[in-house]
Amino acid sequence: MSSPLLTMRGIRKSYAGVHALVDGNLDLERGQIHALCGGNGAGKSTILGILMGFTRPDCGEIRIEGKPVSFANPTQALQAGIAIVQQELSGVPHLTVAENIYLGAEPRRRGFVDFPQLNRQAEELLASLGFDIDPRVPLASLSIASQQLIEIAKALSRRDADILIFDEPTSAIGEKDTLRLFEVLRDLAAAGKGIIYVTHRLAEVFTIADSYTVFKDGARIETGRVADITREKLIESMIGGAIEGEYVKENVPSDRPLLDVRGLSRAPWFDRVSFTLHAGEILGIYGLVGSGRSQLLDTIYGLYPADAGTVWVEGREIRPGRVRAALGAGISYVTEDRKHSGLVLCASVGDNLSLSQLPHIQRFGFIRTALERAGIDDSIAKMRIKTPGPEQIVRNLSGGNQQKVVFGRCTSIGPKVLLLDEPTRGVDVGAKKEIYRFVSDFTKAGGAVLMVSSELDEITGMSDRIIVIKKGAHVAEFPREETTQKALMMAAV
């Protein structure tokens, strides 16, 4: 009887006052795709980080094929046959795609990097994965989605790895690439590798995984075969309660226009996009990854000046290319990449939450602390942010809670129009529901929402109307009643 590929027992890890892991247990067999589930902050990334040698556990035991191991750094883990796609980790921006994929495992000839071989290998790998990316361009020139694909390709390039770990690999990539990834994963499992897969998209769990483990509050509370569990049961064990009706859109838009975008263009991203957003409405923007949706939102918000076109809020044109003009007109923007443009990671939760609000709670330039504190407490409560207190540094929050902080900041100024770009990226089902409820309440109170999302469920579930963007041009529009996921896909490709 051979030992299981991987067992982790009684792993414990705490940071100054925060117990990230209390009793982490995990089992993995060869040939298995194992889903690791749990709410934001359940400790999933932490236990994987420990396995990979990023962090030292306070105590606990790890065995690979029955032999106890302990990795002081990722090099040792890699040598032991473990490879990882880390959550929200990008590669080295100014190295080329090929260099990134084979970083640490370059083909060499007499101590020199064999660049022709390197590029050939990368080209073959990318082609075999069906990722349409030139291996010779610098990583920084790719979109986030493509960068994420490169991270995946990198893990898959480790042919000697027995254990492959994917920590939310699909949070930034499109449907097509996701399906392609799944095929590859199945092949790998069939070849006898063990795969750990973390995702907040429960549909994926049921599509790809054979078995699952649920973490909650830093401990394993359940493990079993996917075939033996339903979606509802999984959610229940993850968040300790049932969720009925995930999407909570229940409002009807008025016909009072709030945001008017007329012929907005910015080469080469998008061209002459026009639409009107009404009070109480959620307007979805769908498109393939890289179709220019984020650029459109950036431009509406004034982060970049448009080449042509105008943006109107409540019948008044706002000065283009000025964030503060947009903010002043009541537009608020939850960006796609919270780490790069949403949060000040090294600052506290409180400082982040009040950042946009400061001009409204000051006197002669001095912050009115009581008002600020009240606003922060309000946001924490309203968004149900799990944090030891407003002093906690945002970097130390789990991904989902970080996203809630962005929401909290963006809504603290009482906006009329919310621009949302992939608003539930990396957010657990519970928090997702809270975000949807919040968005729904926001529109009910007369606000309007412009939402970019690559998740078909989400966009069809929430939007009153959906615009499809293709290569930067507005190609189709669907009212709620006529929307089907298939029609959307068809319009987008």
Partner: protein
């Protein structure tokens, strides 16, 4: 998530005040070494731990302390200001050119009222800082390069004021800012230092501007998305640094009684060292003025203590180099700052 509050408190306070312990440790060390000499009979008394000497240390750090306050703003904003030493010299020279004893401008006095040279110095300082800041914000070039340019240019301007000659013979009113004493004990530069720290602390911790400085330094893109005019904040940060270089210029010139073209050379290193020893990260977004204060104090005690112990100058350099590194290594807030 289980949050155990009491456990959380202790390390945080140690983190916050680690620098204080580093400072006290250094004082105890120097004091012990002095005491040893006394016990050995080499010295009649321990002259390190006297009120006089402690006042002296504060007096000596006043220039670096004022510069370090400005540098704290800059470093928190993820910048660096290499030009503070030159700007100090330039504003000192400007002040001196208006504070000489015999201009004969008004019927009742042969000097300009002392407020004129002061305003000139602070104005010139703020202007130089503003120029650096504008270049950084407008052209998005690295602060290192913009302020390196200013380091050279301001030194050139300093020399151009008098063609390279020093200016001496400053009015007693002006010299009071360097040599005067309040209540016959507290040197005026120390009072200025205290005021600067206090004011800066309030600005950095209590005002919207202060908060924006942290935000811009922590993540400029997020700050922009949050509606902050990051360019304006950057400019003001360098204006503050330049203004305080002007203040330091007044103090140094008034203290030595002469404005020299070579004044303040490489003072930027000491100022940055104070800020970084105080726990700030050059990556931006992190830093505290109390940390900077103790950082400046540690450097001051080191200079004073090594002189008092009579350590040879080359050992002094080696020890100083080592101590700076050790102080930062031992600082428990360091990991935070990363």
């Amino acid at each position: 998530m289980h949050i155990t509050q009491p456990a959380a408190k202790a390390p945080i306070s140690l983190r916050k005040y680690g620098i204080v312990f580093a400072f006290l440790g250094l004082c105890v060390l120097v004091s012990a070494l002095c005491q040893l000499k006394v016990v050995q009979g080499a010295w009649p008394e321990n002259t390190f731990l006297t009120v006089n000497n402690l006042m002296l240390i504060l007096h000596q750090i006043s220039v670096n302390g004022v510069l370090a306050v400005g540098m704290t703003f800059v470093v928190i904003s993820a910048g660096i200001d290499l030009s503070v030493g030159s700007v100090l010299a330039f504003s000192g020279m400007m002040a001196a050119s208006m504070a000489t004893r015999s201009v004969g401008v008004t019927p009742w006095s042969d000097t300009y009222p002392v407020i004129f040279p002061i305003i000139a110095a602070l104005g010139v300082g703020a202007l130089c800082g503003g120029l650096s800041g504008w270049i950084i914000a407008r052209f998005r070039i690295q602060a290192f390069i913009a302020t390196l340019g200013m380091l050279l240019a301001a030194r050139g301007f300093t020399m151009s004021v008098t063609g390279g000659n020093p200016i001496s013979g400053l009015s007693p009113d002006f010299r009071w800012f360097g040599t005067g004493k309040l209540f016959e004990v507290i040197p005026v530069p120390v009072v200025i230092l205290a005021l600067v720290f206090l004011l800066a602390w309030v600005i950095l911790n209590k005002t919207v501007f202060g908060r924006y400085v942290y935000a811009v330094g922590g993540n400029e893109k997020s700050a922009r998305t949050s509606g902050i005019n990051t360019g304006a904040i950057l400019i003001w940060v360098y204006v503050v640094a330049g203004f305080l270089a002007g203040v330091a210029g007044v103090i140094l010139t008034a203290k030595t009684g002469s404005a020299q073209t070579s004044a303040g050379s490489s003072y930027e290193l000491d100022a940055i060292a104070a800020v970084v020893i105080g726990g700030a990260s050059l990556a931006g977004g992190v830093g505290r003025l109390t940390g900077t204060f103790f950082g400046a104090l540690i450097i001051g005690v080191m200079n004073n203590g090594l002189d008092i112990l009579g350590v040879q100058s080359f050992y002094q350099l080696i020890i100083k180099g080592g101590l700076i590194v050790v102080a930062v290594i031992l600082d428990p807030s360091r990991k935070q700052a990363g």
